[in-house]
Symmetry: D2
Subunit: 134 residues, 4 copies
């Protein structure tokens, strides 16, 4: 069932917390991006290398539900589940759970596309393969 | 029509750009938050002072559509339009336009609530007044 | 005396504050960089355009003395004074003052160099001119 | 010799890279802070808990020499060596090395102090003990 669920475990860094003493809302997007890029790396897609080739992976939409806050000292896991949105759009279901109690912190859906060197939408083959199997 | 539209003009800072040479996706959430807090200040709600009193304004959901990218040197405007979502929830319609051509960059809906010192939802009066007038 | 002192006025953004309720130490380096890049722009040196040409302006050393903290709501000014460190090194004396009381917040010396497309140190002409006049 | 050298291994996250394609200068201060706080945690000093008690650990000066750049995909280690600067000041020698080749990236000296709830300088006992042994 969860064969295409990639997970990344991280810990809160104090500079990521704001004056409310919790991780700032924008920082979760950093966590989500980092987990997506690590997921891509795990299927041999190197975000920076693609960029250098003129192929830009871009986010077109994010939806994030904030369910609970992370604080200094917390460990957490970011999950990444790719899914096809349309022939040229990929979605990533991304949940963040606090560890060790697995309290849900963030539920997100991030939609993206890839633009090739000519500015045309074109998903890298490794992503097509993942989506064909999903 | 636009009586409750607050606007804040800003400029891209180079450190906000990532290795694709554009403003990083997460940074737009910084822009949106800063514009919301400046809006709140304009109606005499001080985010940091409320926090110090134990009243936490929290974001419960964000939806962001990325329409175009900002790059080094760009100026832009962030718009803030409050709207009532439910008796205890407030929404902020927030659009970002590049200047001077007003190309749309980001369209967002940010939903929030306020938790009082007892952890109960309670919108500050100044926000209630704005929503009653909206 | 102050003919080559460039100043940039900014305001604290709440997301720049950390769990101590003050602007995080690292954020001052963002302020300093942004002010340097705006200074460079004022003498017609575009950091991003140079980078695209393969000319990299790089920081080789920073010294920062933290004298006081900025908090939510504070306005401040960042000063930039270029000075020659060596034939191929430029220094920037950068002080940050809180407004309106001009309390000193940060005193910094940032040293940099420029590497041309061949990886050789070479200061852009506009910077050479400024240093010759200093 | 190295008995009081604490090390933390991390990896570059793509959002930490700027439009030059390298980790932004300010981000190294994030790395240094995070490693210091993890070091403090390792000797049972909790930065956030101290802050909540009104005891603020503050950085009074940083000196950072940038020797090389980290890029997307790099792993690195941050070293932390505490040393006494004066009766009430503590210094942290912090070097960052790229892995696995241990190329030096950053050499830093960060000086700090602790202010108790009355605003008076007072180093926590666990830090005094470390310095007495150093």
């Amino acid at each position: 069932m969860e064969r295409d669920c990639f997970t990344l475990e991280l810990a809160v860094r104090d500079y990521e917390c704001d004056l409310q003493g919790v991780v700032n809302n924008a920082v979760y997007q950093n966590y989500l991006e980092h987990a997506r890029h690590e997921y891509l790396r795990s299927i041999s897609i190197d975000f920076a290398a693609l960029t250098a080739l003129g192929i830009n992976l871009v986010v077109t939409r994010v939806e994030i539900d904030y369910k609970a806050s992370l604080v200094s000292g917390d460990r957490f896991v970011v999950e990444v589940r790719p899914e096809r949105i349309s022939p040229l759009r990929i979605g990533f279901r991304q949940d963040i759970y606090r560890l060790p109690d697995r309290k849900i912190v963030v539920k997100a859906l991030v939609t993206g596309a890839a633009l090739n060197a000519k500015g045309r939408p074109q998903l890298p083959e490794a992503l097509q393969d993942v989506l064909d199997r999903a």
